[in-house]
Symmetry: C2
Amino acid sequence: MASGSFTSRHLAVVGLGLMGGSLALALRERADTIMGVDLDGEARAYALEMGMVDAATDDLQKGVAEADIVILCAPVRAIQAMVERRIGSYLRSNTLLLDIGSTKHDICEAMGRLPVGIQAVGGHPMTGKENPGIRYSDAALYRGRPFVLCPTRRTTPAARERALALVDALGAVPFEMEAERHDHLVAAISHLPYILSATLVATVAQQGQADPTVWELAAGGFRDMSRLASQDVQMMGDILSTNTQAVATLLALFRVQLAMLEAMLVSRDDQKVAEFLKPAREARLNWIQKYENGYKK
Amino acid sequence: MASGSFTSRHLAVVGLGLMGGSLALALRERADTIMGVDLDGEARAYALEMGMVDAATDDLQKGVAEADIVILCAPVRAIQAMVERRIGSYLRSNTLLLDIGSTKHDICEAMGRLPVGIQAVGGHPMTGKENPGIRYSDAALYRGRPFVLCPTRRTTPAARERALALVDALGAVPFEMEAERHDHLVAAISHLPYILSATLVATVAQQGQADPTVWELAAGGFRDMSRLASQDVQMMGDILSTNTQAVATLLALFRVQLAMLEAMLVSRDDQKVAEFLKPAREARLNWIQKYENGYKK
């Protein structure tokens, strides 16, 4: 994909949060006009004031009516609701519809039921920041990061090319795969970690009821392991509830590994414990080296 | 405890790694002489070269013979072996023996069997750095951090006062408690998190065998949750194997919480899922606020 091939006459960004705001910033020079759509007046005012968008509205129909490209940057269930209930009748034929929802199966299914003529591709950029909100927007948020693209029944070869050009314009690295495969992979690296983090905090909180000193002694290890638990509950609940089957599969695999390690510990088989822990250590060291050298550039 | 009351004529630091080196730096002005003991010639040479110690030896007996205070800064099992097998006959009567091992029950038991006259207190500072080794030593490593002190059968009131004065000299915050209570608390905030981290990486590695793309998509959430898995396997194996019962108890509590959350997810009870995740989020937010405002100053 040649860099510089992405352009848009009327780009609509639906959802002016960290992800949508960063998209608008990154694509500012590639689009003749950018329309921001959000129910939140403060977010719209901020986007306008900072010149991130040329116009803003809280009316989805108005916001996307003229667009040749629409990017849905909302929580998973909100995206799904827009795709299922409303947006199909608002879009012009040949418009490219892309989303950035964290689970892809349900959204891509819904996209596949859109009117013929709409070009729809599921998307999921593997990036973010601890602080959400448009004020933390960053044109470099997507740069060097994986951006998954999932085909739908409304993905024509031309739609695929336009989506790839958009990913390229963001400086992101495209990964094309089926929605099911995506959902299974993110269950392992995003959803299972979140569940473990929240459940760890719940367990420590239970300890804290009997002995509150547990909170005072907690240090850097707990800090890292509990960070994901502080994510938005509504957002994460939506993500988990739209990926239940893959999450349940990963939990089953995790439980097997945990039971193995515990059996080794309880039977005081130090050799076996080391044989379990060593490959995990090596896998993490290998990954972090690639992650820091490869993606963060 | 009045600041400035801690002094030592001959301080011996056994184990010249990050923790021992940082102790030597922090107590440099409080001790007339500091002796470093380590089997590793490079660590000894570095400590001497940097003026962290006045003398260094690989001979435990020589190193501690003249000491009025000895601090054992080695992995748990190495500390236990020294206390059980050798150090009792090397120490002068009235010497204060302190350690910084990560589990306290076995070490405090062993300390309780030392010759009468030796003053022994179990210790565990809740601090550290990702990079071990004496070269990362930092006089401020203990400052503002919790330092647990556990009584043994060889802890006289005078020994307790001297240990508290030492903790004060480090700028650390003393927490006095029985060894069993300590081991139970750290099982929740240190050992369980490590086990979850290693088991998460093992689970992702299993996925990676079927679909290596999982490593390429992994991002910041996985990064945090996998960090502990990269810790030294021997060190962590020793810690777990000297705290098996508390770890098994915490794993049982964790499994109950995990099963509850999974049942809510699988039965698609979004309300219950939110009721589980919300208190975990709030507990983490409360903790991080206190941790960053209180301890990190």
